[in-house]
C-alpha cells in the first residue's frame, strides 16, 4: 500500500506526505468496507440463491432488476425497516452489543486481505495470525448473542457454535503452517511473494503434504465459518435459527452479513496461503495496470472458492454433532499434524524443492478435476435426455391444454 501511495504522491515531503498516507489509508479502508465488504455480503446472498436454484432445477429470485440482481438491496431495505425487537427477558446491553462484536471480528479481517501487490490496508508482520486472532472474536459475539437472548434455542445454538469454532480453530491453524513454513514468514504479502503465477508454483502443489494442508484448511475454515455441511449452530430444522433466533431487523442482518461476507474471507485466505494469491506474470511496468491485473486474478481465485462453497452447500447434507467432533479431533487434527511435519521433513530433505514432485502433484490434481468434470458433464447430459413430460401418462394432452 505504501509503495503504491508513494507513486501517487510523487515527491511531496514531510507533513504533506504523512497526511497523504493517512488519507490514502482511510479512503482505501472506507472503499474496501463500504464499497466491497458490505455489498459483497449482500450480493453473495443473491448469487447463492440463484446458484442453488440452478442446481436444484428451480428459477430462483428473478423479479427485482435484471436476473433478480437487485434482490439483495430489496431484502436489505426490508430488513432495515423492520422493527428491532428486544425480548423483555433478554439481557439488554449484551443483546444489543453482540452483533457489533461479530461484525468487528469479520470486518477486521479485511485489514490484512492482500487484494494486489500494493492494495492491502496494512501488511502486518504477523498478518495471518492477526486474521486468526480477530476472527476468533466472532465466537465471543455468537456466545453473547446466544446467552443474552435468554432462549433455549439461542443458547444451544451459541454453545454449538462455540464448541465447533474452538475445535476447528486447531486444524485450521495447524493447516496454515505448511504454507507459512514454505514462505518463512507470517506476512500475507510475504506468503504470496514466495509463490509464482503458474499453478504448479503455488504452495498447494509443493508436495502431497501441502495438498493435504490445503484440503484441511479449506474444510476447517468452512466449519469455522459455520457453513454447510457444518452449519449446526443455526440448523433451522433443530434450533429455529440458533443464536440469531431472537434477533430481528438490522441486528439479525448484521449476523447474516458477517456470515456471508465471511465466505469471501475464507476464499481470500485459501487463495493467499495455497493458491498463489494475486501473482500474475510481469506483463507491463505500469503499476496501475499491474495492480488491476493482480486484483482481477485475486478476485477470480477467491470468488471461485466462494462459488465452490455455495456449490457444497447445495450438495451436502448437514453432519451430526458427534460426527462433527469426531471428524475434527480424530481425523483432521492428526492429519494436520502430519501435513505440518511432512512439509517440514520435505523442506529438510529437499531444500530447493522438487520440480518433479510439484509437477506430479499438479498432474494428479488436474487429472482428478478432469475426471470430475467428465462425470458432471455425463450427469448433465443424462438429465437433459430424460423428458419429464413424457413420463406421466396423459401429460401430452393434459398439461398443454
Amino acid at each position: 500500500m505504501q509503495a503504491f501511495l508513494d507513486t501517487l504522491l510523487g515527491d511531496a515531503a514531510g507533513l504533506e506526505r504523512q497526511l497523504g498516507y493517512l488519507a490514502g489509508m482511510v479512503v482505501f479502508g472506507a472503499v474496501v468496507v463500504f464499497g466491497f465488504v458490505l455489498p459483497f455480503a449482500g450480493i453473495v446472498t443473491w448469487a447463492e440463491r440463484r446458484i442453488w436454484a440452478r442446481i436444484q432445477s428451480r428459477v430462483g429470485p428473478n423479479r427485482v432488476g435484471p436476473f433478480g440482481f437487485l434482490q439483495w438491496l430489496a431484502d436489505g431495505v426490508k430488513n432495515i425497516l423492520k422493527e428491532d425487537i428486544i425480548p423483555t427477558v433478554a439481557d439488554r446491553p449484551l443483546f444489543r452489543f453482540a452483533p457489533y462484536v461479530v461484525m468487528v471480528g469479520f470486518v477486521g479481517a479485511f485489514v490484512c486481505v492482500p487484494f494486489s501487490g500494493d492494495l492491502i490496508i496494512a501488511d502486518l508482520n504477523i498478518g495471518i495470525l492477526y486474521i486468526t486472532a480477530v476472527t476468533s472474536l466472532v465466537v465471543v459475539g455468537i456466545l453473547m448473542a446466544g446467552w443474552s437472548s435468554n432462549n433455549r434455542w439461542s443458547l444451544l445454538g451459541g454453545i454449538r457454535a462455540a464448541t465447533q469454532i474452538i475445535s476447528y480453530e486447531i486444524p485450521a491453524s495447524l493447516a496454515i503452517f505448511p504454507a507459512v513454513l514454505l514462505s518463512g514468514t507470517l506476512s500475507m504479502q510475504g506468503i504470496i511473494g514466495e509463490q509464482g503465477a503458474a499453478p504448479w508454483q503455488w504452495h498447494m502443489f509443493h508436495s502431497p503434504f501441502t495438498l493435504l494442508g490445503f484440503g484441511l484448511f479449506f474444510t476447517a475454515a468452512l466449519a469455522e465459518g459455520n457453513r454447510t455441511p457444518f452449519d449446526l449452530a443455526e440448523a433451522e430444522s433443530e434450533l429455529v435459527a440458533g443464536f440469531a433466533t431472537e434477533y430481528s431487523g438490522m441486528r439479525s442482518t448484521l449476523f447474516f452479513m458477517a456470515e456471508w461476507g465471511n465466505l469471501y474471507v475464507i476464499g481470500a485466505l485459501v487463495t493467499t496461503l495455497y493458491l498463489g494469491g494475486w501473482q500474475v506474470p510481469q506483463f507491463t511496468y505500469n503499476p496501475v495496470l499491474m495492480n488491476l491485473a493482480q486484483v482481477g486474478v485475486f478476485m477470480g481465485k477467491s470468488l471461485a472458492c466462494v462459488f465452490f462453497m455455495i456449490w457444497l452447500r447445495a450438495t451436502l447434507p448437514r453432519v451430526r454433532v458427534d460426527q462433527l467432533m469426531a471428524m475434527c479431533w480424530k481425523y483432521m487434527v492428526p492429519l494436520a499434524m502430519l501435513s505440518v511435519l511432512g512439509t517440514a521433513t520435505m523442506m529438510v530433505a529437499l531444500p530447493n524443492g522438487s520440480h518433479t514432485l510439484r509437477m506430479a502433484t499438479f498432474a494428479v490434481v488436474v487429472g482428478v478435476v478432469i475426471r470430475f468434470a467428465f462425470k458432471v458433464r455425463f450427469h448433465l447430459k443424462r438429465a437433459r435426455k430424460l423428458d419429464y413430460t413424457s413420463l406421466s401418462p396423459g401429460a401430452s394432452q393434459g398439461l398443454s391444454s
Binding site: 439481557d91 449484551l94 502486518l124 508482520n125 504477523i126 495470525l129 492477526y130 486468526t132 486472532a133 480477530v134 476468533s136 472474536l137 465466537v139 465471543v140 456466545l143 453473547m144 446466544g146 446467552w147 443458547l155 451459541g158 454453545i159 462455540a162 464448541t163 469454532i165 474452538i166 480453530e169 491453524s173 514468514t185 507470517l186
Partner: protein, 182 residues
C-alpha cells in the same frame, strides 16, 4: 500524542478490570475479562510485541475465555449477591490483593520516569524486536528446556482430561426378537 493514547487505553483497561470484579453476573464478569485481555494485547502492540499480542488474543480472548463463557452459560449461573463470602476468605483475598498491589508499586517506584515503555522507554529496540523470528530464536535457544517442559505439562493435562472424561463401557442390552429391550 502516544502518551495520550496510552493513558486513554489504560483508563479503559482499568475500567474493564473493575468490571470483572464488580459485576454480580458471572457472564458479564467473564466478558469484561475478555475486554481486559484484549486491551492487554493492545498494550503489547504498543510495546512492539506483535506476535505476543496476536497469541494473547488467540489463546486467551479467543479460546480460554470462550471455554469459561461456555461453562458459565451452560450452567446458567445466576449472580447471588445475597450470600456473603466466607469472612476468612475475604481477609485472605484482601491480603493477596494488597501484597500484589504493593509489589507493583515497588517496581513502579523503582523505575523513575514511568511512561508507556516502562523501564525501556529510552532504550533502543533491537532490529526485529517482538517479531516472530526474534521470539522463536529466544524460545528455541535460551528457554528451550522451559518451553519443552511446558509442552509436557500441557500433554499431561490432555491425558488427564481424557482419563477423567472416559466413561465405563456400558454393556449393551440384548434386543428381543420384537426389537424391544429385554
Amino acid at each position: 500524542m502516544s502518551e495520550l493514547v496510552f493513558y486513554l487505553l489504560a483508563a479503559i483497561t482499568v475500567l474493564c478490570a473493575l468490571g470483572v470484579i464488580t459485576r454480580p453476573n458471572p457472564v458479564h464478569s467473564a466478558l469484561f475479562l475478555v475486554m481486559t485481555l484484549f486491551m492487554l494485547a493492545v498494550f503489547y502492540i504498543i510495546l512492539e510485541a506483535h506476535l505476543v499480542a496476536a497469541l494473547q488474543i488467540i489463546v486467551y480472548a479467543g479460546a480460554v475465555m470462550v471455554l469459561f463463557l461456555f461453562v458459565i452459560t451452560l450452567l446458567n449461573l445466576k449472580g447471588d449477591p445475597d450470600e456473603p463470602a466466607h469472612p476468612l476468605l475475604r481477609i485472605v483475598a484482601y491480603a493477596v490483593a494488597a501484597t500484589l498491589a504493593a509489589g507493583v508499586a515497588i517496581v513502579l517506584m523503582g523505575d523513575a520516569g514511568v511512561v508507556p515503555g516502562g523501564a525501556g522507554a529510552g532504550a533502543v529496540l533491537a532490529e526485529g524486536f517482538g517479531g516472530t523470528r526474534a521470539l522463536a530464536r529466544i524460545l528455541f535457544t535460551d528457554y528451550l528446556v522451559a518451553f519443552e517442559l511446558t509442552s509436557v505439562l500441557l500433554l499431561v493435562a490432555v491425558v488427564g482430561a481424557v482419563v477423567l472424561a472416559q466413561r465405563e463401557p456400558v454393556a449393551e442390552a440384548p434386543l428381543t426378537e420384537t426389537g424391544e429391550d429385554a
